[in-house]
């Protein structure tokens, strides 16, 4: 079946502009995660959605970052007034259930470049 998909695959934007990154999780997966991966670094947790529960936003680096998940499926990560330090690969993952002991399936990521 289809895996996690993300769009766009690449995004170049000017400093100060807003961007929206999209994630389509695996159908039926109730948990969805967003991570950020800077060049040569590990994955940095951003936000976690589980079913209808309030999301865990503890990893969002600033109030310029927000995310929503509509209908328990597709998720959008929005970055307002982008800065050069926002340049990174943004990865989305989903798992069948919440809790990190369920395998997380990752999408290919969106590479964001802020010029």
């Amino acid at each position: 079946g289809a895996g996690v998909s993300q769009s766009p695959s690449n995004k170049v934007t000017e400093k100060g502009k807003d961007v929206e990154l999209r994630c389509d999780p695996i159908s039926g997966h109730t948990a969805l995660y967003w991570y950020r991966q800077s060049l040569g670094q590990g994955l940095e947790f951003l936000i976690y959605f589980q079913g209808n529960s309030a999301p865990d936003k503890s990893g969002l680096p600033s109030d310029r970052f927000s995310a929503e998940r509509t209908g328990g499926s597709v998720s959008t990560l929005t970055i307002q007034r982008t800065q050069q330090e926002d340049s990174a690969v943004y990865l989305c993952a989903s798992s069948l259930h919440g809790g990190t002991t369920y395998e997380q399936y990752f999408g290919p990521g969106t590479r964001l470049t802020v010029t």
Binding site: V4, Y48, T100, Q104
Partner: protein, 112 residues
């Protein structure tokens, strides 16, 4: 604070050799550990996991060892193949928390 780190940023091996990738973690309350493989341009892919009540777990050509005394995790890959070339990440989870803490990764280069 929480931290997960790796001893070697790059590991170069010959095809057919066994590879060992190491990871140190600092949070003694972590109870679940995972190894991921990330190929260029792709998202991380689950390899193997281990819970803190175990010290060894084997998969297909891979073995994960956990030493809680020194807070050390390792991934052993038997008969390494060129297709194993990738960046490998360890990740830990602390009981009761819903997020993984990832290390910075080790690049494995396999020469034919």
């Amino acid at each position: 604070g929480e931290s997960v780190g790796l001893h070697l940023p790059t590991l170069s091996v010959q095809e057919g050799d066994n590879s060992i990738i190491n990871c140190a973690y600092s949070n003694s309350a972590s109870d679940y550990f995972i190894w991921y493989k990330q190929e260029s341009g792709k998202g991380p892919q689950f390899i193997i996991d281990i819970r803190s009540n175990m010290d060894k777990r084997q998969g297909q050509r891979v073995t994960v060892l956990l030493n809680k005394t020194v807070k050390h995790l390792s991934l052993q890959i038997a008969a390494t193949q060129p297709g194993d070339s990738a960046v490998y990440f360890c990740a830990e989870n602390m009981a009761g928390f819903q997020k993984l803490v990832f290390g910075t990764g080790t690049r494995l280069l396999v020469s034919p």
